[in-house]
Symmetry: C2
Subunit: 272 residues, 2 copies
């Protein structure tokens, strides 16, 4: 069993959580709809980047205080601008490295990390660093994707190859684009208790035009297209295969196409 | 909107359906928990095989009458034995070919097909044949797996290769082990209305020992192991790669392993 405050963090009964996730009409709801922190709680968002998740986090828990750190001053500038534009009053930003956090041990009630571990060569050490800043009984929440979870109709060897290029580029940069499937062992190894990982599958077919546009086309396919120059420059793929791969992904957004991708969300509790 | 009887077929509100699926503790619940037919309804189970799903179907809808057909007399014998052992009184068996069904048009209230289309070289024609036997307003329910949806930790190229052998063997036999992702376009093309497909992801990690044993080890890995001789005889893979592939799958059942697989369930309504 989790301590009461942890239950509050979920903010909902398990059934309500499931309803929120199952009925999610946007990716933000699917991934973040069941994360709520209680009034007065201090939350560290580690690796906030340009603040893409910060606005959602802070709005969903208006009584909590967020300390959002990133190693990049440039990203923090963008995040600060976003928070100001959203009139957030419960968020502070600070430049910091996850591996050398300028906070004493046990100084936060909760920690939140989203789309960060995938970029790190030592995600386990990052988690250990973050867990050390948690107060006993507090929670750590992690959200990551897994590019190996993508499959689609019509199937396309070139589209699969294009996705493998993303995975290879991430690996060359020291990261792991397949990290979603590893959240359970990573969180368990970091010493957290009551580790629970839930897959958040995005299933898109012609009956869900908003997801076709918002996810298949403008999120996933756009992300793949965005690394084309790097993939070609790295010699990971030929130009023709790449072009056909991107075409294959676009093809899955046609009315008879289907696209599947799974995110993973894990939560664990700091031992007392 | 679906007609009232269709709503009854679901047997539950959407929220209740989601709860049933999300809280499923067995694969049977995950796949079949939300299929209920009303008293008096006549249901065709097409391709019942050895009756693996028949017992669940008939028990979950004790007031409905099931006509279960299969092309194999041998399978039907086994199915009949199973139904008798389960004391089912609402099930009849009949030998029949899905492509030449001995029933007039519009003679069933509902049709149920599970793990059948994957074996057929003309799944679209099979659906057309089945839809023709449906009364207007009746539903057709299809459940299929998709071997391309499997991914796991630790990742293993040999384990992926072993799974590809299953897909190749299925293709050589005229089937499609990746058919799950195609249910939406297949059902839509068969002329059904209100087609809705939902993924049923099996996510297994060390916190779910019953699923590790029941699914990862005794269902999926056992299935792969079962085609080893055929895969080797067909020259699809070398003995050493195969051995390491099976070892790789077994490895995912260790306490720090993770295994993911997605089934798809689709339902559509016969137009009036």
């Amino acid at each position: 069993m989790r301590p009461m405050e942890t239950n509050y963090v979920h903010g909902y009964s398990d059934r309500e959580r499931e309803r929120l996730v199952d009925q999610a009409t946007t990716l933000t709801e699917l991934l973040h709809g069941d994360t709520r922190y209680p009034p007065g709680a201090s939350v560290l968002e580690a690796g906030c980047g340009v603040g893409a998740q910060t606005v959602t986090l802070a709005r969903n828990s208006p009584g909590a205080r967020f300390t959002c750190v990133d190693v990049s001053a440039e990203s923090l500038d963008a995040a600060y601008g976003r928070a100001r534009a959203a009139s957030l009053e419960n968020v502070e930003f600070q430049q910091a490295d996850i591996f050398a956090l300028p906070f004493p041990e046990e100084s936060f009630d909760h920690v939140f990390v989203c789309f960060v571990l995938e970029h790190l060569s030592r995600p386990g050490e990052a988690l250990t660093s973050l867990v050390s800043r948690l107060r006993p009984g507090g929670t750590l929440t992690v959200i990551e994707g897994d590019h190996g979870s993508a499959f689609f109709h019509p199937d396309s060897a070139e589209a699969r190859r294009a996705i493998e290029c993303l995975v290879a580029l991430q690996a060359r940069a020291g990261g792991d684009a397949l990290i979603g499937r590893r959240l359970f062992p990573l969180l368990t190894a970091s010493g957290l208790a009551d580790v629970a990982v839930s897959p958040r599958m995005v299933y898109v077919d012609g009956s869900r035009p908003q997801w076709v546009e918002g996810f298949t086309r403008n999120t996933f396919t756009a992300m793949v297209e965005g690394v084309g120059e790097r993939a070609l420059a790295a010699g990971l793929v030929g130009a023709d295969t790449w072009r056909r791969g991107v075409e294959g992904l676009r093809r899955t957004a046609e009315p008879d196409g289907v696209f599947c991708y799974t995110f993973f969300k894990g939560i664990g509790v700091k031992r007392s």
